[in-house]
Subunit: 406 residues, 2 copies
Amino acid sequence: MHASADLPTISQRELIGQPVEMLDTPCLVVDEEVLQANIQALQTFISGLGLKLRPHAKSHKCPDLAKHQLAAGAVGICCQKVSEAEAFAAQGIGDILIANEVVGSAKLQRLVRLHRRCIDLNGQLIVCVDSLEAAARMNQALEQAADDQGVAKAKSIAIAPLSIYLEINVGQNRCGIAPGRAAADLAKAIEEQMPRLCLIGLQAYHGAAQHMRTLEQRAAVVEEVCNKVRQTLQAFEAQGLKRPEVISGGGSGSVGLDARTGLFTELQAGSYVFMDVDYMRNQWDCTIDLNFSQSLFVLTTVMSQTSSDRAVVDAGLKALSVDSGLPELKDAPGLIYEKANDEHGLIQCRHSEHDPALEPESLLGKKLWLIPGHCDPTVNLYDELVVVRKGQVVNTWPVLARGRLF
Amino acid sequence: MHASADLPTISQRELIGQPVEMLDTPCLVVDEEVLQANIQALQTFISGLGLKLRPHAKSHKCPDLAKHQLAAGAVGICCQKVSEAEAFAAQGIGDILIANEVVGSAKLQRLVRLHRRCIDLNGQLIVCVDSLEAAARMNQALEQAADDQGVAKAKSIAIAPLSIYLEINVGQNRCGIAPGRAAADLAKAIEEQMPRLCLIGLQAYHGAAQHMRTLEQRAAVVEEVCNKVRQTLQAFEAQGLKRPEVISGGGSGSVGLDARTGLFTELQAGSYVFMDVDYMRNQWDCTIDLNFSQSLFVLTTVMSQTSSDRAVVDAGLKALSVDSGLPELKDAPGLIYEKANDEHGLIQCRHSEHDPALEPESLLGKKLWLIPGHCDPTVNLYDELVVVRKGQVVNTWPVLARGRLF
């Protein structure tokens, strides 16, 4: 992007091989062993049930990380925005579901280019649709692109149809057509009127279910989701439509349940690679839930301590997203992150619980490990993920899709 | 930074000269006329009192915008982080106060390099200090840099002393040495023991004061701040220290009061260029407060509407910082932004208040203007600020210090 070449780099790549204590802060750190264990745990579970894992890359926005998920057996990735997907395709990842609606002429033009790019990569682009109007505009953008290639090519439909999932409203009341008859009617209209679109699946994702605290609550929502999917499949049958080959959904909080419903064919969990304070607040049941561990941290430094009962760290609102609550400190008994200002974090120091290594006079300059309150928007604040193993910096991965909002 | 050259640009620079409706979304837009009016209003007010304005660039992180502030008469800028300041110095801006403590060996090395760079630019770097330990480490880093230049040069102190402001705790209980005697003792120790540091000012900033709702509340805090500054100046005198030439502080919420105290010589407001929903919640008193207007917006698109009482826009937590509350819609009666998810904003549609231009069936693809809840961390999510005038795109300014957290 503009002029960034004029700026001194802020990558810490030159610290590969050095101890983590050398890192400047605040920086975003991932524990490679925990990350790989999370990746393997979910893949083994999903594959063991004969299902497909298409992890959501909006959580990490990092092609290097996605490549580890694909190497472990993922069938592709999900993205949430066209420009985000472009960043992954630019790194050679070509099997992408944009698990979201795409509206607007500039975005549709990008979508068509990305569709071609994914075919060139021997992959496929899939996108969600939840209204006839949006489908019509998408179909038209594809028609237009075919026309632009000239009459001869257009006749042979030089551009392959774009695969779509019909997004149904499974109870979150956000995007998605109403399940059942309305969904089947929309599918039929698309089949009949939109030759450039090919409906291959249903999108049935319930975001709020991921953060419900008890297994009972999550199970109730998953059951509701399944009922809405079944209702839709029945309406498809009644309309004489063939059953969509893919039922896609599920997330890191509910995947243990989602995958066992016998209904989903493809799971979309994303945050499981990292986890966060909000996810840790879920009550996990090891008989059903998977045992993901915290791999993501913000390393921060105490930059001021002018009173024994408080310290100030260099990670505030621009280094941590606090929308789902404040970060927690790791391995720092007696210290509590109690407030985030724009550029500062306020740490309360409770002396009675204090670790001798963290005595007041020794805090200035001390590095502390924070567990982010909410992983996805926190990652979106950083240009680089520092990969560590056993206390050493082993790699840096650019967060290439950071800020890709279009 | 890494590999960004491999990615297609997401700048909208090619839309200069086009109507704003052409912009892809979500994007960050500034109304140039309102911005310039805000810049002029504060500069005229501060200059009229014979004081200096050193606007805080952490709000906009944008050298192009800072150049307008300097052209209007600002004496320099404030930054909050060393790497942020580097981004401005790289664009030729050399008079910078890092209005914050700088701790850690990597940061101190960068600080020394930046100090030299600012001198090369015929400017000066100033940094805040609030403890003897931090001052000693900074002094040592400067000594080390001088030594590295070789014995001959070191003897002549080739590097000019680094100017510092002593930050005093004016009541926010964040950073800052206690006012009065403790501050004077620290100043004396720095004068006597730290030849590479030159104390030229007091930093007396109270962040929380900016967001207090009534003028009475803000006036009470400003009075408290002034008492602490006076107490410190008296202690300086009692210690035989000369009065620091600069008393620096103030912010966009309290600047009308700060500037009239007769105590501050330099004001640091930042958010006044943009404003936000949180600032709009202050009760402004036109007899004292300045009349800043909203210049910053996030342009968003309705990407789904499957029910007449709600719509979904493409700006969620990654496009808006919600730490100080949700965004508000501009010129969209009957529409309320009621919830931010990671990638979606949920809009409630109240039909009774509905504008005919926003009837339910016409919302899909419609562009809406959002006023961010909190400007500073929202700007930090974007790579580019789109400048508009009378409905037309007139420029794009890269947010070059975005993500500069070190």
